[in-house]
C-alpha cells in the first residue's frame, strides 16, 4: 500500500507548512531541495525551514506536495505528483449517515483551506484534484473562496468534488456557471424511491432536497457525475433508477455504479449491505442496457472484471485509487489484470464475491 503519511521531523515550534519536493532547481520559496541524506533519512531545505523525511527515497516523492506537521512529526502527501488520485479532505463533518460510508463523519472541523490553496498553487500542470469529505459544502463559503483563489492562480487546474448535493442554493447559479468547465460534481443517488434513498443516507427528506438541488446543477449546466453504490437495499431498483436518470437527469454527464468499500460503516454494515454482483448481474445489466439504449454514459467503478459479464466489461473502470488498491493471489495468472480495477486493500475473500475467476 502506498504511504500517504511519511515520518518527518523538524523544529517542533514551527507552524504547519506546505512544501514541494523540487524536481531540479527550486522555483519558489516553498520548493524543498535535498540538502543531505544518510541511511533512511533525507534532509530538505526550503526558503524558510528545514525538515527531514524518513523511510522514503527521493525518486518516490519527486514533485510531491507535502503538508509538514511539526507537532505530530508527520508529512501528509497532499499531492503525489506521479498519481492521478489526489484528494483534499475538506472536512470530516457530514449531515448524512450513509449505511456504507467509508469515511464516517466526525463532529470536529479543522479549516485547512489555506494549506490547500498553497498546495493547489504547487500542483503539477493540468492536475485534476479531488475534493472530498465528509460533506465539503458544509463549508461552502470557504470552499468556494478556495476554488476561486486556486483558479485565479492556476488556469490549468480542475476539481472533482464529491458532495451529497444538499446544500446548493439558487444564488449559487452564477458561480456554478462561471466554473462549469472546470468543476465535476460527483453526487450520490441511491434510488428513485425517496424512502429507499433516505434510508440509505440516514436522513429523512434527503431525496426531496436532492431533487431540487440537482435541478439547480442542471440549470447551471454543471458537469454532473451521478454515483450509486450498489447494495442489497437498492440493487433490484437499479433498472428503475436508470429510467429515472434518463428521464429526470438527462443532463448528467455520466452515471457511475459502484461496488462497496469494506471500511468505516461499510465494514460495520458489510453483511447487511454487500450485494454480490458476481452471482447476480441481472438488474445491473438491465440498468446498463437502458442507459445504452438512451445513449447516456454509464460506468462501473470498483468492479473486478471477472465479476462483470463480458458484454459490460468495457464499462468497468480502474477506479480504485492506487494507494488502496490490491490484487488477490489468484489474480497472478489472469490475462485481464492490467486493465482490472482489482480490489480495495480492505477487501476480504471470506465475505466477498463468490465468483472470482482468473480470465
Amino acid at each position: 500500500m502506498i504511504q500517504l503519511r511519511l515520518r518527518s521531523d523538524c523544529d517542533g515550534a514551527l507552524s504547519p507548512f506546505v512544501t514541494r519536493i523540487a524536481n531540479g532547481e527550486p522555483r519558489c520559496a516553498e520548493d524543498a531541495v535535498l540538502a543531505w541524506q544518510e541511511a533512511g533519512v533525507l534532509g530538505f531545505r526550503t526558503g524558510y525551514a528545514d525538515f527531514r523525511l524518513r523511510d522514503v527515497t527521493p525518486a518516490d516523492i519527486a514533485g510531491d506536495v507535502l503538508l509538514i506537521d511539526p507537532r505530530r512529526q508527520v508529512a501528509h502527501r497532499l499531492i503525489r505528483a506521479a498519481s492521478p488520485h489526489n484528494t483534499f479532505l475538506i472536512t470530516e463533518q457530514c449531515d448524512q449517515l450513509c449505511l456504507m460510508c467509508s469515511q464516517p463523519p466526525k463532529p470536529h472541523h479543522e479549516d485547512m483551506f489555506g494549506h490547500f490553496r498553497t498546495a493547489a498553487r504547487l500542483a503539477p500542470p493540468g492536475a485534476q484534484i479531488g475534493l472530498s469529505g465528509g460533506e465539503p459544502l458544509l463549508h461552502k463559503r470557504g470552499l468556494f473562496d478556495f476554488i476561486d483563489a486556486a483558479f485565479a492562480e492556476r488556469d490549468d487546474l480542475g476539481f472533482h468534488i464529491l458532495t451529497n448535493g444538499q446544500h446548493f442554493e439558487r444564488e449559487d447559479l452564477p458561480w456554478l456557471r462561471k466554473h462549469r468547465e472546470r468543476l465535476l460534481w460527483g453526487v450520490p443517488i441511491y434510488s428513485d424511491n425517496a424512502a429507499t434513498h433516505d434510508e440509505i443516507v440516514g436522513k429523512p427528506g434527503a431525496f426531496a432536497e436532492l431533487s431540487e438541488k440537482l435541478s439547480l446543477l442542471g440549470l447551471a449546466g454543471a458537469a454532473l457525475e451521478l454515483r450509486t453504490v450498489v447494495l442489497k437495499q437498492n440493487a433490484s431498483g437499479l433498472p428503475g433508477l436508470a429510467d429515472f436518470i434518463t428521464r429526470h437527469l438527462p443532463f448528467a454527464a455520466t452515471w457511475a455504479i459502484m461496488q462497496m468499500e469494506r471500511i468505516g460503516y461499510g465494514r460495520m454494515n458489510w453483511t447487511r449491505c454487500f450485494f454480490d454482483s458476481s452471482t447476480n448481474f441481472a438488474d445491473l445489466g438491465a440498468a446498463i442496457d437502458l442507459m445504452r439504449a438512451r445513449r447516456q454514459s454509464v460506468a462501473l467503478y470498483n468492479f473486478p472484471l471477472c465479476t462483470v459479464p463480458p458484454a459490460y466489461r468495457d464499462l468497468a473502470a480502474r477506479s480504485i485509487s492506487d494507494w488502496k488498491q490490491k490484487y488477490l493471489p489468484g489474480c497472478e495468472s489472469c490475462s485481464l489484470r492490467a486493465r482490472c480495477a482489482g480490489f480495495f486493500e480492505w477487501y476480504r475473500d471470506e465475505d466477498g464475491f463468490m465468483e472470482i475467476q482468473p480470465q
Partner: protein
C-alpha cells in the same frame, strides 16, 4: 399537479394509441386514456404515470421541468463541427443503370468532369469550411474515372483537416493497381451497390452477366484488401420486380456483410421515365414490411444478425437524441456549406437530390458555386422548409422529434413544398417506418426482441422502453 406537457397521439390500431411529447418521450395507451386526457379528466394513477415518466411538472425550475427542457433542447440540436461534403468529380459512368437517379453522362462524353480550375476552386471552398472534421463522399458518375481528382482532394484534405474520412461510391466494375493503392489507405471507405441475386443485379445495373461476375470478383477483392468494416453496400429495389427477401439477404451474407440499407428507387433522373412505380409509396411500404418480417425471422433462425440500416437508425433516433449521423434524416437540416454537394460543374447544392432536380432542369436549387461561394439569400429561402418543428401537420405527429423533412423530394414529386404532409412520399414512408418501429418495440415475440436488442447493442430489450399508460 400543475401541468402536463402537450402530447401528440396516433392510433396504431383500433385498440392502441401511441402518445409522445416534444422531447420524443412516448408511451402506449388505450382510447379511454386519450379520452380522459382530452377531457382533462385524468385520474390519480394517470397523473402518477405521467409524472414518473417526465410528461408533467409542478413548477418552473423543479427537476421534472429542468429535465424536460434538457431533453427538448437536445431534440432541437444537430451537432456541429463535422462537415459532410459530397463531391462529383465526374458525371460520366461506365454503367447505364435503369434507375440512375443522377442521369449520368456516357463514358466517352466530354464536358462532364471537373477541369483543373474547378478542382482548385473546390479545394479552396473546402479550405473555407469552419470545421476540423470532415467526411468527403465521392459520387458520380463513377468517381474512379477521375482517380487523379480523388488523389488531389485526399492529399489536400489530409493536410487541412484534423480528422478526415473518404467514402468512394463506386460501381467497382474496374479495379487497377492505382485504385487499389488509393483504397488501401485506412481513411478510405467504399460504398457500392449490390442489388441482390445475380440476375437482379444484371437486370438493374450491368445488363451483362459477365460484367456482374466482374463486379462480384472485384467486391470480393476489395473486401479481402480492406476488410468488411470499410466496405458497405446497398440494394436499390425495383418494385416492378423486387428480389425475394431471403435471396437478397443471402447475397449480402455471402460477402460477409452484416448490414444492408434497403433503398427504394429514387424518383429522380432516369428513374422517372423507367420506374413509374417509384411514385407510389404503398407498394414500397408493403415490400419493406415483408422484408423486415423475413429478416427478423431469419435472424432468429440462424442466430446471425443482419441489420437493415434505416430501420435500425430510426429506432435509435426514437430512443435517444443526437443520432444525426445520417444526413437524410435530421431536424433541423438547414442547408450549409458544411453539408453540401459540389457538382461536376462546380455548382453547390444542399443535397444530392437537389442537384438531380437541377440536372433535369426542373428547378435550380444551387446554393452557390465554387467560383462565387455560397449564396446566403438562396440558403435563407430554402432553410425554413428544412425544419419540421413548426410544420402545421408535423406538430400534431408523435413522430415529429425523430423525423425530418425532405422539401427537395416534395418539389420533385409535386412541384411544391407545401403539400399536406400525409400526401407526401416522405411523410407516408416515414409514418410507416415509425409505425413499424413502434410495433416492433412493443412486440413480445422472442424473435423480434432478439433482432432489436442486437441492433441496439443490448443484451436484452429493457422493459422501460415500452411504457404503457394505466
Amino acid at each position: 399537479m400543475k401541468q402536463v406537457w402537450p402530447l401528440r397521439f396516433r392510433d396504431l390500431d383500433d385498440r392502441r394509441t401511441l402518445l409522445a411529447d416534444e422531447t420524443g418521450a412516448y408511451f402506449l395507451a388505450d382510447g379511454d386514456f386519450v379520452d380522459r386526457y382530452a377531457r382533462d379528466a385524468l385520474t390519480l394513477p394517470d397523473e402518477r404515470f405521467l409524472r414518473e415518466r417526465g410528461h408533467a411538472f409542478d413548477r418552473t425550475g423543479d427537476l421534472a421541468h429542468t429535465a424536460f427542457l434538457t431533453r427538448w433542447s437536445r431534440r432541437q440540436h444537430v451537432g456541429g463541427g463535422l462537415a459532410y461534403v459530397i463531391l462529383i468529380p465526374t458525371l460520366r459512368c461506365d454503367l447505364k443503370c435503369s434507375y440512375c437517379q443522377v442521369s449520368r453522362a456516357p463514358f466517352a462524353s466530354k464536358g462532364f468532369d471537373w477541369d483543373e480550375e474547378t478542382l482548385e476552386r473546390v479545394l479552396g471552398f473546402l479550405d473555407t469550411l469552419p470545421v476540423e472534421e470532415i467526411q468527403i463522399e465521392f459520387q458520380g458518375g463513377e468517381p474512379f474515372l477521375r482517380l487523379d481528382h480523388l488523389e488531389a482532394v485526399a492529399t489536400f484534405a489530409r493536410r487541412r483537416f484534423r480528422n478526415v474520412r473518404f467514402v468512394v461510391c463506386t460501381n467497382l466494375q474496374n479495379l487497377d493497381d492505382d485504385i487499389l493503392a488509393f483504397l488501401a489507405h485506412d481513411d478510405v471507405l467504399i460504398s457500392t451497390s449490390l442489388d441482390g441475386p445475380h440476375q437482379v443485379h444484371t437486370r438493374n445495373r450491368t445488363g451483362d452477366t459477365e460484367l456482374t461476375r466482374t463486379f462480384h470478383r472485384n467486391l470480393e477483392r476489395v473486401i479481402d484488401l480492406v476488410g468488411p468494416d470499410r466496405v458497405s453496400a446497398l440494394p436499390t429495389i425495383d418494385l416492378e420486380d423486387p428480389p425475394d427477401p431471403e435471396a437478397l439477404i443471402s447475397a449480402y451474407e455471402a460477402f460477409g456483410f452484416t448490414s444492408l440499407y434497403l433503398r427504394p428507387v429514387n424518383y429522380q433522373g432516369f428513374a422517372r421515365k423507367n420506374h413509374a412505380s417509384a411514385r407510389s409509396s404503398t407498394d414500397w411500404i408493403e415490400y419493406y414490411g415483408g422484408f423486415i418480417d423475413t429478416l427478423i425471422a431469419r435472424n432468429a433462425r440462424t442466430g446471425r444478425v443482419m441489420e437493415e440500416f434505416y430501420l435500425a437508425h430510426c429506432l435509435r433516433r426514437i430512443l435517444a437524441p443526437g443520432v444525426d449521423s445520417h444526413t437524410d434524416l435530421r431536424n433541423p437540416n438547414f442547408p450549409s456549406g458544411a453539408n453540401a454537394v459540389i457538382d461536376f460543374d462546380g455548382q453547390i447544392y444542399p443535397s444530392d437530390e437537389a442537384r438531380m432536380l437541377a440536372r433535369i432542369r426542373q428547378v435550380d436549387l444551387a446554393i452557390g458555386n465554387v467560383t462565387d461561394g455560397l449564396d446566403p439569400e438562396k440558403i435563407a429561402v430554402l432553410a425554413p422548409a428544412h425544419i419540421n418543428s413548426f410544420d402545421p401537420d408535423c406538430i400534431h405527429c408523435p413522430y415529429q422529434p425523430f423525423c425530418g423533412t425532405d422539401p427537395i423530394d416534395d418539389l420533385s414529386r409535386s412541384s411544391r413544398i407545401d403539400v399536406p404532409r400525409q400526401e407526401s412520399w416522405f411523410c407516408q414512408r416515414h409514418l410507416a417506418l415509425f409505425d413499424l418501429a413502434m410495433e416492433l418495440l412493443y412486440s413480445r415475440e422472442a424473435a423480434v426482441e432478439f433482432t432489436l436488442s442486437r441492433w441496439l447493442g443490448l443484451e436484452a430489450l429493457p422493459e422501460a422502453l415500452r411504457p404503457v399508460a394505466p
